[in-house]
Symmetry: C2
Subunit: 407 residues, 2 copies
Amino acid sequence: MATEDIAKSLEDSNLESETKEDIVTPWDVAGADDTGIDYDKLIKRFGSSKVDNEVIAKLEKVAGKPVHHLIRRGIFFSHRDLFTLLNLWEQGKRFYLYTGRGPSSESMHLGHLIPFVVTKWLQEAFDIPLVIQMTDDEKALWKNIEIEEALRLTKENVKDIIAMGFDPSKTFIFSSLTYMGQCPEYYRNVIRIQKCVTFNQVKGIFGFGDSDVIGKIGFPAVQAAPALSSTFPHIFGKEKVPVLIPCAIDQDPYFRMTRDVAPRLGFPKPALLHSTFFPALQGAKTKMSASDLNSAIFLTDTPKQIKTKINKHAFSGGRVTVEEHREFGGNTDIDVPYQLLRFFLEDDPELEKIRIAYSSGEMLSGEIKKLAIECLQPIVAKHQESRKSITEDVLELFMTPRKLNFK
Amino acid sequence: MATEDIAKSLEDSNLESETKEDIVTPWDVAGADDTGIDYDKLIKRFGSSKVDNEVIAKLEKVAGKPVHHLIRRGIFFSHRDLFTLLNLWEQGKRFYLYTGRGPSSESMHLGHLIPFVVTKWLQEAFDIPLVIQMTDDEKALWKNIEIEEALRLTKENVKDIIAMGFDPSKTFIFSSLTYMGQCPEYYRNVIRIQKCVTFNQVKGIFGFGDSDVIGKIGFPAVQAAPALSSTFPHIFGKEKVPVLIPCAIDQDPYFRMTRDVAPRLGFPKPALLHSTFFPALQGAKTKMSASDLNSAIFLTDTPKQIKTKINKHAFSGGRVTVEEHREFGGNTDIDVPYQLLRFFLEDDPELEKIRIAYSSGEMLSGEIKKLAIECLQPIVAKHQESRKSITEDVLELFMTPRKLNFK
């Protein structure tokens, strides 16, 4: 696996001991200083490409419609091989989408929706199959929970994912702990991948050490395998179909590894589309955490809870006094209510109006908080309403290995 | 996993660099000097127990019949917790049998039969279920073969195993590469085990290093899981059933690890019954190898091939000249034809007669070779005849996860 990607990642891990860098791994995200994650630096360090105007124009041309605001606003900021994939698409070569989630808490928070929102947009724009992995095995290995509890959390989280409105005729959602026991090709691909990667390499990429349990050491292959279309014979048969993986940037180490291994197994390198992290209520510069109830707005929160959380906990970029605020204006870069609007308010002119009003000092903190509350309350309420209709039968439909619509 | 077993094994691996010891791992067997493996030393080093007269008496009492000659003759020389298991049996607690094979060559040789011969005897004596694992994933990881080839070798080898006459109503034979994709509980148990074992520990037990592929590092859990009865819900439901594992002593490292983990997962420690190695034709002191065609008698050999191999390649413990031989006699300890008879000639008085005649010099090398040939030719021919009747349907019957007779 002596490719640039891997060499780069090994080099990085050496560098980290010398210069202070942002830590971005699947299990740990922390800025080098209190300015938070420097995403431009991350692109350089990871060796990915920026989602610039050219990429967006290409995506809009191929999709035949404007891109989703999460892409347009630079929240999906980085990619790998998206251009190549879109060129192939134009030549008539289909691809599929793969994303996932580690089910770690009963209820998902707003940040967890982000990859799924863009994935859904991509699925609808391209009319292609989507596979969603619930890495309950990862959670059982990393967290102090039993297999049974991981499986239960998977079911709860899948209900939230289905509630986002995915099309069951094109979407397969699977738990690794279950699908591994339903499809021999999955385990066979895991072994094929595990045969290509040494402990030294996962040490370099993920920072594993000698005292880590062997389940962790082998796990990256479990997350890599769904990027090979043969892991889903019921969908793709034996066809080698390219894949696009929308995910948060902290998942990139898995797919750097996958991109290295896939060609050795005769598969195309997966293309990637990376998002920044969703801000915690306490500050736009860090990642929301499901373990701190006040750090996030959960999909189970009532309108009143949303109101209280934003009013009480959302970090404000406003000035200390009204007078100062009127004079100097608020800082939208660090203002969490503004960031929430940036993620969830669809209307571009409206958002721009708010930005100008807030940063000029015309709009006060209390006012922008109110707008954020009014934006999120109906989104969460609608989600809850939609989730109610997810019966066990619907759950089973999505999670049953089956043929999907794929031309 | 800080138990005596593991501490011992770590200690051993340290010792090995200082004093010269026999190497006995699942992938490497070599005597420290040309006297071959010292099995008594191995018992001490591994911390197992000798199969002595007391064990044999207990086994005969409980089984209600004389033990198999491979046990009686000390070929199954070592055990772990066999007494405990037999005591439980007397109290009405059933157990199951688990053994396996790594399918590395198209045709099995006589040595490969040994664990299966005694396993079959045990199954018939106790009338209990048996699970046989084909570790085709191990072979794909360790050897330069593809998954597809490993699966093909599994099928070929399973035919040989079935041909030994196992009862399909009590025997389940499975390929890890296939059964992992048929039964979610298998993978779940693998993860449960992999969560209990660190890289440091497999390093100590198996000698893995940083440049080993991660598939190897995780594999021991795949061989450990079938020692937990919940890996076979179709046979045992949720019952926690004790297990006895008959195997060659080189497989012990896997089960030392398993014995450490099982109680932490609420399962009894597996009991073990270890065999010595089957001699290569070139010398009784080493293990037969499937890769050297002249080192072994294969189950596909013709009567003529058997005759030629034994006459031409079987290491003789006889003297250089007939005169010397008549005077000093042959050495049965190193005489391969005698060793072959010891493994395969069932008649005790007959074997003893041969031993006396050969070691007194009364019987010549050519004569004992002839006896070995006459003993093995019909065994191999009968096996070939029996294998012919193994259709794809029979293969599928044995390899389909299903209920077995288990009271």
